[in-house]
Symmetry: C3
Subunit: 405 residues, 3 copies
C-alpha cells in the first residue's frame, strides 16, 4: 500500500481519531495481559491451533503458562496465513520486539519472558491505551457484575442479557437474581420487577447500552408465551425504551455446535436467518436504537437495507467470523454506499485483553482508508476532507451520539 499516497494520507489522518470501542469483553479489574499466555489463550488462537491438530491438553488450567505458549506457537505455522495470526505478529512487533518477522516456536521462551517484563510495567494499561489511540471501552457485563471499583467513564458498563433471556428459569440464575436485586423470581411478573432493578442499578452506574446475542432462528414477539425467551426479550426491549438505552443485537450465533471444541471455540452459525424476524421489534420500539451486528455478508446486505429504511436500525462493527479483511471490506463498501453516515458504528474490538485493540483497529483503519480512497474520493463523490469527516463519524462521533457517552 505504501505507493498509494492518497490511501497513506487518509490513513495517517484516520489514525489520529481517538477511538471509542463500543463492544469488548475487557475485565476492567484486569484489562491487560500478564504475559504472552493471555494473548495466545484468546480463543482465536486456541481454536485455530486445535482446528490445526492441537489437542486440548496444553489448555488445561494446571499447565504452566510458558508451556502452553510453547504448545500453541508450535502450531502457529499451520495457520500463519490467517488474519488472526497477523494480529499476533503485530502485537509482538509493536509491544515486544519490532524486529520479529516471523514467530518461531524456538522464540517461545524469550518472548514469554519479554512479555512478562513489559506487560508487568506499572503503567502498562495506560501505555496500551495511549499507543492504541483508544479512549473508552464498552464492557460486556453479566446482570450481577459489580460495577464499582473502576472508572466507568473509561470502561463503560453494558448490560448483557443472554443469561436472563435464555436462562432465567435456571435455579442458579434465579438465585443470582435474588442476590443482586432482592427479588425472588418465579414468574414473568417477578422477573419484570427484578429486571427493572437490574436496569436501574446499571443506569445508575453509567451503563450506556444493553446487549444480547441471538441464535439464527430467534424471533422476538410481543405475544409470545409469558416467560419464554421471545417474551423476555420483549421485556428487555421495553426496559431499554424506559431507560433510553440502545439495544445491541448480535444476530445469528448457534452455541456449542462443535461440542469437542476449545473454550469459546464451539459456536457457529446458520446463514439461513433474516432481519425480517426483527421487523415487528423495529416497528414496536421506534424510540429504541438497535445497533445490529451480523455474521455473514448476505445478512450484511439485509442490514444495509434495513438501516437505510428503519430510523432505529444501525450498522454495528464487523462481528466475529465476519471480522476478516475480505468480509470487512465488502460489508463496509455496501454500508458506505447506502446507509446514512450518521447511522454507522464503524468498528469494535470484541477483545478480552487491551493489547488486541491495536491490531484490530489498525486492520479496520487500513481497510477504511482504502475503501474511502477507491469508492468515494477517487470517483469524486466526497472530497478528502469529507471522507475524513466520515471516518470520524464511524470511529468516534456516532458512538458518542448514539450511546450518549
Amino acid at each position: 500500500m505504501s505507493t498509494d499516497m492518497l490511501v497513506a494520507d487518509l490513513l495517517a489522518e484516520i489514525e489520529r481519531i481517538p477511538l471509542i470501542d463500543s463492544h469488548s469483553h475487557i475485565d476492567p479489574l484486569a484489562p491487560t495481559s500478564r504475559s504472552l499466555d493471555d494473548i495466545l489463550s484468546y480463543h482465536y488462537y486456541t481454536e485455530l491451533a486445535h482446528s490445526s491438530g492441537m489437542s486440548h491438553a496444553p489448555l488445561a488450567a494446571d499447565v504452566p503458562p510458558r508451556q502452553r505458549v510453547r504448545a500453541i506457537l508450535e502450531h502457529l505455522e499451520r495457520f500463519d496465513n490467517t488474519a488472526q495470526a497477523s494480529w499476533l505478529r503485530e502485537i509482538v512487533r509493536v509491544f515486544l520486539d519490532e524486529q520479529v518477522e516471523r514467530i518461531d516456536p524456538a522464540d517461545a521462551d524469550w518472548l514469554f519472558d519479554a512479555s512478562e517484563r513489559i506487560f508487568g510495567k506499572p503503567d502498562w494499561e495506560e501505555e496500551v491505551l495511549r499507543r492504541s489511540g483508544i479512549e473508552r471501552v464498552f464492557l460486556t457485563n453479566e446482570f450481577d457484575d459489580p460495577l464499582e471499583r473502576y472508572n466507568t467513564r473509561r470502561y463503560v458498563p453494558c448490560l448483557r442479557t443472554d443469561t436472563i433471556v435464555f436462562g432465567w428459569q435456571n435455579p442458579s440464575v434465579q438465585q443470582r437474581l435474588a442476590q443482586t436485586t432482592g427479588v425472588e423470581v418465579g414468574d414473568a411478573g417477578t422477573l419484570r420487577v427484578a429486571l427493572a432493578k437490574v436496569f436501574e442499578r446499571f443506569v445508575a452506574h453509567g451503563a450506556k447500552a444493553c446487549a444480547i446475542s441471538l441464535p439464527p432462528d430467534f424471533v422476538p414477539r410481543a405475544d409470545a408465551t409469558a416467560g419464554s425467551p421471545p417474551a423476555v426479550f420483549w421485556m428487555v426491549a421495553q426496559m431499554c425504551r424506559e431507560h433510553r438505552l440502545p439495544f445491541d443485537l448480535m444476530i445469528g450465533v448457534n452455541r456449542n455446535v462443535y461440542r469437542g471444541g476449545v473454550h469459546q471455540g464451539r459456536d457457529l452459525f446458520d446463514q439461513r436467518t433474516s432481519l425480517i424476524q426483527y421487523a415487528e421489534l423495529f416497528n414496536a420500539f421506534p424510540e429504541v436504537m438497535f445497533p445490529v451486528s451480523v455474521l455473514t455478508s448476505v445478512q450484511n446486505q439485509e442490514l444495509v437495507s434495513y438501516a437505510w429504511i428503519f430510523p432505529n436500525v444501525l450498522t454495528h462493527g464487523h462481528w466475529w467470523y465476519s471480522n476478516i479483511p475480505v468480509y470487512i471490506a465488502d460489508d463496509l463498501r455496501a454500508r458506505l454506499q447506502a446507509v446514512p453516515k450518521i447511522k454507522q458504528l464503524g468498528y469494535y474490538s470484541d477483545m478480552y485483553k487491551l493489547e488486541f485493540g491495536l491490531p484490530k483497529f489498525a486492520m479496520y483503519r487500513r481497510i477504511l482508508a482504502r475503501v474511502l480512497a477507491d469508492d468515494l474520493v477517487r470517483p469524486k463523490l466526497l472530497s478528502e476532507t469529507q471522507a475524513l469527516e466520515l471516518a470520524r463519524l464511524l470511529l468516534r462521533d456516532n458512538v458518542q451520539r448514539i450511546f450518549g457517552v
Copy 2:
C-alpha cells in the same frame, strides 16, 4: 478513473449507445419533474431523510413544494455518502448548475427557482431524453390504465399484474375490472375471461411485457386452489404465452415491513428465498421469456446459474436495494463470466421522473466500462471491439430482441 485510458475509451464508446430502458414508473402524461420537489420526493430521498431523523411532516400534501425541498435538503448532509445522494448531485450539476460541488440547504431557494425555470421549458422532455441518450422507456401500467393519448413507441406499455394476482378478490378491484373489460368477475373462470380482455387491450396498444413483483415466499403452482395468488399467477403466465409477451419477475420483496415508513419507503426483503421456487414455472412455460430481477447477491448467484441452464431465464437489471455500485459490480461480473451474453438485459432505471435516467445509467455505464476492462479486455478474453459489442447487447440489442421493440 481519469488515469485509466482503457476504461475511459470504453466508457466514451458505451455512452454513444442509444438506450432502451426496460423498466420504469414514468407517467407518460407527466414524464418530467416540475421542480426540485419532484426530484427530492423520489422515495430514495424521502426514506433516507426519514431514516436519518426527518419526521413525516414535510411530506404532507399541503406542504408547499419549496418548503419540502428545504426540509429534505436540511437532512441531505446526513446521507451525502450514499449512491442516491450522488445521483442528486449529478442531476443538479447536469441540469441546473454545473458549478455545484456540494448541495447546501442554504441553496434550496435558488435551486428550486432554477429547477422550476429549467424544467418548465417547453421542450424539456425532449431535452432530457436527448441528453440522457434514452430512446424508449418501458412503463408500469395498472390493468385499467388508459393507453391512448401518448406515443406508445416512446413510452412502451407494460402490464403490471400485482393487483390482479394478489388483489382480484377485492371488491374495488373487481369493480375496476368490470369497468375496463365489461366482465363481472366472481370466480377463476370469469377472472380468466376478464384477464384475456385486459391482455388483448394491452397488446393492441403496443404493450411489450407483463410484469409482477413477488414476495420472498411465493411459489407459483399449476395445481394451486383456483383463484389463489399462485393459481392466478399461473393464469397470467398462460396469457403471456398466448400473447407472446415476456413476463418480468421481480422476486423477493415484502411489502409494508416498516409500517411507519414514508410512501414507497416501507418495503424490505427476506434473503431466504430461492429461484428453485420458480423451477416448475420455468419448466412449464418454455415459450415464455422470464427476465428476472432479484434483490441480493446470493439470489444473483442463483440467477446466474438459472440463466446459464434455463433457455427462458434472463438476467434483468440491478433492482432496488441491489442498485448500488458495489452490488452492481459484483453481480455484473458474475453475469458476464457465466451467462450467455444474449441473455443479459443490462440495466433499467426504475425511475418515476425522466431526470433520473441520466445519473442512473451513468452509474451503470461507469461500472460496466470498468468491469469490461478489468475482467474481459485486460485478461485478453475479449478484444476491445468485442467488449463494446457486448455492451451494446446489454444496453440495447437484447432489450430490442427479447421484448420485440
Copy 3:
C-alpha cells in the same frame, strides 16, 4: 496482468508445482478426447449452447461428431463472454493451433480434423498430462466399477456413493450390488455387509477417498429410519472411519431441476442450505476428514468458519457453478484469510477429459497468484517465499497428506 511483475513472478513459480487433481470424472480407459467433439460435448458447452437457443437435435447419438461440432460452434458466439468459452479457446490454442484468436463456426472442419490428428497421437495421454503439469488424477467410481486394468497410482480410485445412499432400494442397484459383492441386499443389515465388501475392494485397489453429492435439504442423522438416505449416509461415514478414507461432501445440488435440459445440464441449487445440517456428522466422526465442496459464496462463508473451528472440516476446490473467476477469487480470499493453510485443498478439475485440466488449473493459478500478491505479499503478511509454500500446500501437499497419496 503482464505489467504486474510480482503476480507474474508468483505465477511462474506456481506453474512449476506438480498437480494432484483431487476430483475428476476421467475414464481411465479413455482419458483423453478423440476429437473436438469430445471437448464440445462437455456439458458446459452443450448446456450453454442449449440455453442460448440450440435444440437437442445435434446432441443425438446418431449425429456425426463433425456435424455436432459445427452445430455447437455455430452457437458459441452467443456465449463467448463466459469463462467456459475461455477454457475452450485455451484448449484450441494450446493443443491445436496457437494462432486461433476467435473460434469461428467456419473453422469447424479444419479444427475437427486437426483435433482428430493431434488427439490420436499414440503418446497423447502422456503429452497432455505433461503439458498440464498434472501428476495424478482422482476418479469418480461407481461401487461396481472395475478397478483393474489401469494404473491406480496415476488414476486414483474414489468411491462415489450417491447411488447406494439414494438408490439402494432400486432393484437394479440391488442386482448390481449382488453381482459385485455376492450379497443379496434386502435390508439395512445386508446392505451393511455388502457395503463393507465394496469398501474392502476399493481400498484393496488403492482407493483414497469416498465421495457423495447431496441435495440442499439433506441432513445426515444417526437416528434416521434404517435404510433411509440419512441412515445409509451415516453407515457410509462409519465405513470411511473404519477404512481411514476421507469423505468428500459435495453439498447443495438438486438433480433434474430443468427437466428439458441436455445431459448433465439439468441440475441447479437452492441457496437456502447450511452446514449446520452437518454439525452432528462432524461431531460424531472426529476421525474422518471431510473435504467439503459448496455451490455459493454464502455457503463458502459458512465453510470458512466451519473449517476454522472443526478439525475435520476442510475446504475443497471451487465446485461447478462457483467455478468461475469472480466466485473463485472471493471464496479463495476468505479461505486464505481465515482457514489454517494445512486445511485447504485448493482446486480440482471435475473434468471428464484430460484436456480440460490445463485451462481449468491455469485459471485457478492465475487467480491464486493475484490473490497471494494483493492480499498476503503486498501487505507484508507473508513473504514471497512463504506465499509460494502456501501455494504448494493448496495445489499439492495438502492433497497428498489428507488423502495419503
